[in-house]
Symmetry: C2
Subunit: 353 residues, 2 copies
């Protein structure tokens, strides 16, 4: 099943990856190596790309970092975004280095002529700008304490600065740690402009909490049809951000993964070691990913087992020390527990051919 109809937004082209206009929702991340360490940054980007990252961003806090972008860009194949604060010259240098998008807020780079210089240079190169407002850095004198309305006002004010300069190649993000605030801000913005929206829960915390907060916030919006590109923020390895981001999309039918594992929580009815079986099935599928997306169900008992197993491409429904194997909705045979994983994987391979 698909989510609700996607809201229509403009198309923004980021180095060949489309954001908005009905393009597949892309997954972004940000490097956490020093940008000046080209080798470490490139290596991290290659790992991110392998995990499913579509667009990568790097912090550009210094001139040295801006200069390093040229070499990084030459060594990677996914679009590169320069993340800039305060200093408009770093934006100009990043554009010279060949980046595919800027993340910069006009409001924090100073006078209008500086903003104009950046907008003009970006426009000449066909490079879009993401305006990224975060609840934590809102101008409180102007917008008051962070709220959904303050995020939207602040974001749209930034947008208007660029629009006045004739620049409309814009992506907008309105991030907050507060999930209901973030959901409401994007809902409001979605009703007030048609720029593509970059979704994220900011500073979402360590992997466990951050995964839950991001899944709730980003997931709720995507389920409503809002959002064109996403970034999960986790304190830790950015590869984990990309994995979580792609799994959020997969859960909503917005991206196919090589395999989807359906498995029951087990209960007092379960008479096989389902958790161990699920773990082994997952390891084997990861080691030998099928060539086309496949859904595998590992179910513990006869209550929901046969039904779920028959809905999946391949599945098992556990009995006492044995299980029934299903493929494409058909019951195939009963096999003993110790042969279960082998037989299941055999059916996966057979279907994959």
């Amino acid at each position: 099943m698909a989510v609700k109809e996607r809201r229509t937004t403009r198309i923004v082209n980021v180095g060949g990856v489309q954001i908005g206009g009905g393009a597949p929702v892309s997954v972004q991340s940000m490097t956490n190596t020093p940008t000046t360490d080209v080798q470490a940054t490139v290596e991290q980007i290659h790992r991110l790309e392998a995990a499913g990252c579509d667009i990568i961003r790097a912090a550009v806090p210094t001139r040295e970092a801006a200069e390093a972008l040229r070499e990084i860009k030459a060594a990677i194949s996914i679009p590169l975004v320069a993340d800039i604060h305060f200093d408009y010259r770093l934006a100009l240098m990043s554009l010279d280095a060949g980046v595919d998008k800027l993340r910069i807020n006009p409001g924090n780079i100073g006078s209008e002529d500086r903003v104009e210089a950046v907008a003009r240079a970006a426009q000449e190169r066909g490079v879009p700008i993401r305006i990224g407002v975060n609840a934590g850095s809102i101008d409180r004198e102007r917008y008051g304490l962070p709220s959904a309305e303050a995020l939207v006002e602040s974001g749209l004010d930034e947008v208007r600065v660029l629009e006045r300069l004739g620049f409309e190649d814009i992506v907008l993000s309105l991030k907050a740690f507060d999930v209901p605030m973030m959901i409401k801000a994007y809902e409001l913005a979605s009703g007030r402009c048609d720029y593509p929206l970059h979704l994220g829960v900011t500073e979402a915390g360590p992997a466990w909490e951050g995964t839950i907060r991001s899944s709730v916030g980003i997931g709720a919006l995507l389920a409503e049809g809002i959002g064109d590109t996403i970034r999960v923020s986790l304190t830790g390895d950015p590869v984990e951000e990309v994995k979580v981001g792609t799994e959020i999309l997969n859960s909503l039918g917005l991206r196919d993964m090589p395999f989807t594992l359906v498995s029951c929580p087990t209960c007092g009815r379960c008479a096989i070691d389902l958790s161990a079986i699920a773990t082994e099935v997952r390891q084997r599928l990861e080691a030998n990913p099928p060539s086309k997306p496949i859904t595998v169900a590992v179910m513990g008992c006869v209550v929901n087992g046969p039904g779920e197993a028959s809905l999946a491409d391949v599945g098992i429904a556990g009995g006492r020390g044995s299980a029934i194997i299903f493929a494409r909705g058909e019951k195939l045979r009963t096999v003993p527990e110790d042969a279960l994983v082998d037989e299941l994987m055999m059916e996966v391979e057979r279907l994959d051919k």
Copy 2:
């Protein structure tokens, strides 16, 4: 910030815990020990309760399991739900054993007089019934292949069987592995009846995928104001289900946790070991949980750091080998990296007094 206004539902009383009618959203789980192993089951329920579980369910596949419920019920303090399929006598035995709720689908226990016997016995004891429809076990001859509409029709048909017997003390669940299908089913049901809704993504998979799928599906509905009680399904230790469930509620401002950790994903700007600091702060907060809910921000740099840190109760914003400490929005002092966690925890304790 709070989520959207909660939909109004009837109140159902489950052994002292209210579901619906604006009561706090409760977290449920299910034991995965053999129900006949009273000691193991009671131990698991105590661990679940400590993790924040409000209502616990146990599978009742046999007469021996039904008999064990009496002893289990006597040894625990949270409400106990009997999960029954096929055999109405197990429902009657479970009621005799003193359970606080039944999960049973009239459609799978046979003739109307059996359903009537169960409804009458439940009504006499003031025990509610959850009708729990799962996509995997829908009657396909009657409702066709699983869909949101089929889930709702099937669930409401079960509801009508009880209503015809004058039984309206009902909680309804409409679970599916397919997250958009599950979201749509609950949305439809929410418009068509006012029974409290028990949310869940069924057979959601191992902990990692299951956490994401459950957070997206349950979170999206709660953010809309739909849902009165939740159950996260994960293949593994049910304690993890309860932790994820409470964190979903926490992320939406529906339950306070002892502490909430805001931490940034780090990037090329970060010049302190933020991941290690966040991990240590979390361990210390878990070891000595504050007496009132507190939000702690651990931020890597000056871009969003001071803003987020000042929004939290206590926070740090990292610099180069040092960080600024904030409390209640006030900048307190700059401390070196190696004294950071100690100083931060000192401020947590100070605020907690």
